[in-house]
């Protein structure tokens, strides 16, 4: 199901898009342009952080996820549940009840990603103590952040801890357990991740991110919650299905992952724009005395994911109550299940102007010159996120100076030899 040409999971619903500038201005990799009144995503630049989904007032940004019919493709179906999921329900804070209800949606078994998280934390502690990691070591858990590093911070690729995501580790362990339990062939087992975010959907479809994924499909929190809400009231017998501890479950919220590493000097940052600021500082060598960096694209961590249904602050408080009743750590995933990743992120120089340095320099000079002549308002009316971005788009051949409404007005004045009506009516 994955391919080399898969770029991103965030998509535009053309009919809903009004061509406003909300997403344009918020995109951290300047991956959006407005063309002919509609937003367009530049596929190479999108890192699936979901900022545009969050800010679009018209709900025109969606994430491609699977629907429940994907379950029909497999003989034995396992719901792989992200810890933030347990914070999505207004009336229940019982993990066993939520997991039991999932069985009613057609899953044969459930597996908590928090168990993978707890194992990744343990492995991280081990790697930190042998002192082989480049400091500050950056967590590999958030796929939007690792992709951000791959496109904007190539110098920091060696700082990323070479571990699988908790989702991948848990999926691998779940498949092994299921093969043992059912005697089925591994390919008959469907591992479906219940996801708070779009970046996870890409992480299983793009071979450049994870070579051999164990996750077969992704269904969003929202779609699952809708279905689950109808089931949850009718459960008569709650099965004991929850095996995760609080250290793994706390990964759902900002700071939980960093705390589980027990690193003496750790920093936790959330929200993609905050992450960028911190990565800039790391790149400039300003954080060399820090051991561990947890960096999550969504505000508040995974509970703030764009595909969640509950308010992130409310979800956070629920998760923390749920964790109080849990043991810190539970039985570890068997050490024969590999913790290390199978592929390191590869530098994708998507901001580069040209392969040839000489040409790139000529283009850069032209950009400077054009940027100087633009008004510097960064209004976004031209369809580019800033005046400088417009200058770049012009030099790249994707836009023209007349896309700037101020330059267009100047041109109109020159051609007609008169000022437009409104500028003649200036107050005295």
């Amino acid at each position: 199901m994955y391919s080399e040409n898969y770029w991103h999971s965030v998509r535009l619903e053309r009919d809903l898009c009004k061509g406003c500038t909300n997403c344009l201005k918020q995109c951290p990799t300047q991956a959006i342009r407005i063309q002919k009144g509609k937003a367009k995503i530049l596929k190479e630049r999108c890192i699936d952080c979901g900022e545009c989904i969050r800010v679009c007032p018209y709900h025109a940004k969606k994430a491609v996820t699977d629907k429940f019919d994907i379950l029909n493709n497999y003989k034995y179906k396992i719901a792989l549940v992200a810890p933030a999921f347990f914070g999505q329900f207004s009336k229940t804070e019982d993990c066993d009840l939520v997991l039991t209800a999932l069985l009613g949606l057609g899953f044969d078994d459930v597996y908590e990603v928090a168990r993978g998280a707890q194992a990744i934390s343990a492995k991280t502690r081990e790697l930190l103590s042998c002192g082989e990691l480049i400091k500050p070591a950056i967590s590999s858990a958030c796929p939007a952040v690792t992709r951000l590093i791959a496109v904007r911070f190539p110098n920091l690729i060696p700082n990323i801890i070479p571990l699988r995501s908790p989702m991948e580790l848990a999926a691998d362990a779940a498949r092994r357990d299921a093969v043992e339990k059912t005697g089925l062939s591994p390919k008959d087992i469907g591992i479906i991740f219940i996801s708070p975010c779009a970046a996870k959907a890409t992480a299983i479809r793009d071979e450049r991110l994870v070579k051999n994924t164990n996750v077969d499909g992704i269904i969003s929190f929202r779609d699952t919650c809708l279905e689950l809400a109808q089931k949850i009231g009718g459960i008569s017998e709650i099965k004991h299905l929850s095996h995760a501890g609080s250290l793994g479950t706390m990964w759902a919220t900002g700071g939980g992952e960093a705390r589980a590493t027990q690193a003496p000097r750790r920093v936790a940052v959330d929200g993609i724009h905050n992450v960028i600021q911190l990565l800039e500082d790391i790149e400039d060598d300003k954080l060399c005395d820090v051991d561990y960096v947890e960096a999550l694209a969504c505000p508040g961590g995974c509970v703030g994911g764009p595909l969640t249904s509950e308010n992130s602050f409310v979800a956070r408080s629920k998760i923390s109550r749920i964790c109080k009743a849990m043991d810190a750590e539970t039985e570890m995933i068997d050490s024969s299940v590999d913790r290390m990743w199978d592929a390191s992120p590869v530098y994708r120089p998507v901001m580069k102007l040209d392969e040839d340095l000489g040409i790139a320099m000529q283009m850069a000079m032209k950009i400077e010159e054009i940027a100087e002549s633009l008004p510097g308002l960064d209004c976004g009316s031209c369809g580019s996120p800033s005046c400088r971005a417009l200058a770049e788009d012009i030099v790249r051949g994707h836009a023209s100076v007349e896309d700037c409404i101020f330059k267009l007005r100047e041109r109109y004045e020159q051609l007609s030899g008169q000022k437009p009506a409104d500028s003649n009516n200036e107050p005295d």
């Binding site: 790149e283 400039d284 580069k352 102007l353 340095l357």
Partner: protein, 141 residues
């Protein structure tokens, strides 16, 4: 040479919170040129340290950056107090920064040593009471 990019910046010495903005701008610029990541990293760190020095010791100054396909040449000029003992200043941990400055996270005595590590050529021209000019080269190839 006509195939050279020339950038000129004034560094404000009044505002600490702005220290580092010039090197950040240049770093962004170098990324669009698609220079090797290591060249960008070294340039950003060397320039950041030098820019900070300019702000904490010399009340600001001017920075000129010239980029050719072969190298990045940075000249930082200030009208500060000058460096009395350049050799000492090049030692790790040596700093003349005040306690207040250190409280802000600067003045660890790593500025000049870091600049030296990151650049391929480094020249410091300093006159007491008149100012300091620092000349840095980072080779691209």
């Amino acid at each position: 040479m006509d195939n050279a990019i020339k950038l000129h910046y004034n560094v404000d010495g009044e505002d600490f919170t702005l220290a580092g903005t010039t090197s950040a701008t240049v770093k962004k610029y170098l990324k669009t040129l698609g220079l090797p990541p290591d060249v960008i990293r070294r340039t950003a760190i060397a320039m950041y340290e030098a820019e900070i020095n300019m702000v904490i010791h010399a009340d600001g100054g001017v920075i000129d950056v010239e980029i050719t396909p072969e190298k990045i040449h940075i000249v930082l000029k200030d009208r500060g107090p000058g460096i009395p003992d350049v050799e000492k200043a090049m030692q790790e941990g040596y700093s003349t920064a005040s306690n207040e400055i250190r409280e802000l996270g600067f003045g660890a005595g790593m500025g000049l040593p870091n600049i030296k590590t990151c650049s391929d050529e480094m020249k410091v021209d300093t006159v007491i009471g008149e100012g300091t000019t620092m000349d840095l080269v980072i080779n691209i190839k």
